[in-house]
Amino acid sequence: MQATLGPPRHLLPGAWIIARREIRDQLRDWRILAPIVALTLFFPALMNFTARQAVDFVARYDAPIIGERLIPFLLMIVGFFPISISLVIALESFAGERERLSLEPLLATPLSDAQLYLGKVVASLVPPLGAAYLGIGVYLFGLWREIGWTAPAPLLIQILMLTTAQAVVMVSGAVVISSQTTSVRAANLLASFIIVPIAQLIIGESMIMFWGRYTVLWFIVAALLLVAVVLTRMGLHLFNREELLAREIDVLDLRWIWRTLWAAFRNGASSVGGWYAGVLRHSLPPLRPALLLMVLALGTAFFVGVRLAPRFVLPLDPSTFEALPDNLGQQLQNFGMMSAEGWWWILRNNLTALAIAALLGMFTFGVASVILLMAPIGLVGYLAGNLALAGQDAGLYLAGLVLPHATLEVPAALLAGAAVLRLGLAAVSLPQGTSLGESWLKALAEWARIGLGLVLPLLMVAALLEVFVTPRVAAWLLGG
């Protein structure tokens, strides 16, 4: 027996069936339609008025630059306001259908997961984006009519792309949230994970626009598109018909969390020796790609630091280097070197830095932690570059002041960064049949295994070297 009917085989026509129905449905809902119309027609008109008043006002005080900067800024805002509605629509996409009990018939159709998912994304994007473009058009028309201002083509393209990229990021993030929650209420509560970063982004974009550094906006567009791709991949990866239907309640099951975490942390070991062997045999090998990435990132940071030295030269006085041999040991002791307190201070600082990196990495797919770990290496490169510019032997300084403890501290940073990268990417590389929570807890346990088994011992010894060995090597090499 063969059924002859089937859904469109290709991704987009199938997704469009879902999207088309939802868009029609949205356009019948006055609660969505009313704000879109208001933000498309009324708000741009208000911005026109504001821009005109501002231009007139600043012209009186001979400060036209404020008006020049305000008009593009308002253009960006006019585009942003309607797309904020896309967040509401996207948050409702799966959670709302689940609440209205209309999800199961849809899941029982032969549409693929990707078609369902992309259909929801497109449906959440099209009406608000359409409204945003229309709003921008209304604003520009008003400006042209009122004060004869026309947008330069690059700026207009930039704002359109920025608006689109922001909408795609918000929607892809919101659809991920919606597919992972049981109710619209829960989805709205979790939306702060999108609203807060986007609000920060808008503040940042505003500062850049008033500063007049429009080129930076291209980098923001590129970064946003990258985030959108990652979020969409994450959403597709997390999309699970079983999870969507079978999950009944969002209860924080602390006992389950602890059991899962502890089981993954132990990984079947019954002794400390067995656990340690497990860390080396099972946790370390999968880190290889992330470790390679970290090596590349830290290497790049050092290189960038060296290259920045000629652009931002430090005013190093040659007499500083002549005086160094006599008081180097004393200076290092003044910094708490050669003491247990110094050891503890360094270890605590390093652990705090790695903890902050881990925390940031968890919510940024590991990116923030990599950037944070790149910073000190970049600084070392920058200082080395400046030493070389001052005619000093940078290699000698590095060997004396950094190398002894860096032999362990850098591997610790590489391992910590790689572990955080894997933790941050846990949501986008979910093993089949594993829920997001379970996958993340297992990744957290792996991070803890690497942290406790390898990073902590390396940092403890590195701090010992830094306090007791590095000063001696430095004094010896640099002549103390």
Partner: protein, 313 residues
Amino acid sequence: MEYVIETLGLTKRFGDFTAVSDVTLRVRPGEVLVLLGPNGAGKTTTTRMLASILPPTEGQARIAGYDVTTHAAEVRRNIGLLTEHHGLYTRMRAGEYLAFFGGIYGLSVPDSRRRAQDLLDQVGMPGVIDQRLGEFSKGMRQKLALVRALLHDPPVLLLDEPTSAMDPASARLVRDSILQLRSSHRALVVTTHNLAEAEQLADRIAIIRRGEIAAQGTVQELKLAHVGPPIMELRAARPLDGDVRLLLGELKMVASGEDWLRYQAPVPAEANPRVLAAAASAGLPVVTLTEVGRSLEDVYLRVVGAPAPRGEG
């Protein structure tokens, strides 16, 4: 293909909880299988596994020859699912809604509309195609959901609690529509906890208890296996006196009164004519000879167990 639905040891676990355990079923084309069981017995989970929405933890299931795990899309193409809650988009019109689902199954809008109209006529709802779904009664909504499930003419129809929480009139409308859907090529699986509905719809019944199939067969087979052979009651116009032995012969008497008696009739078609012939030859005027009601409820309670009194969980 002899069986359009085949499951073997189908099991579903959610964490530590086993929702469905070792379910083995076979349904032929044209057959109606009713999954009967209390709330939470695992009926919906079984249906969702058959619809390839939930993957089984263990065991296998094949729908129209396709494995529910490895060929999920083909399985979904071959089933029509009526969920317990209709799940309609109430702002849409009936025709528009059905065209949406028709599009998903590859039907053009005119074909969807034509097919939808035929099915709406079949379920007794002509002339609603341009009405908004929000204006429909509960029974009409469920019937429209049934039309949605039938739109692509699937060989397997899965109906999950089709009349649950409906008033008797609406439930009857839906039940009548389901009865009309029986055809030689289509297999139906209906889940319910409504005994009368099960008896009315089923060719075979599988009673599911705590995720396991506790009993399976036709209504008669289940009655025979769980509450014994049919019991007949004969009422006469005068006291029976010494005629009992003469009337029953080898048949087993289970109760009697002055002018009535009840006996077990393993094969009523053979036993009853013999009893009536014996009564006629003895000159005993028979007023009635009827089967004593042994309801599916007796079977169900025997299999599932009577609910615990309050306070005992």
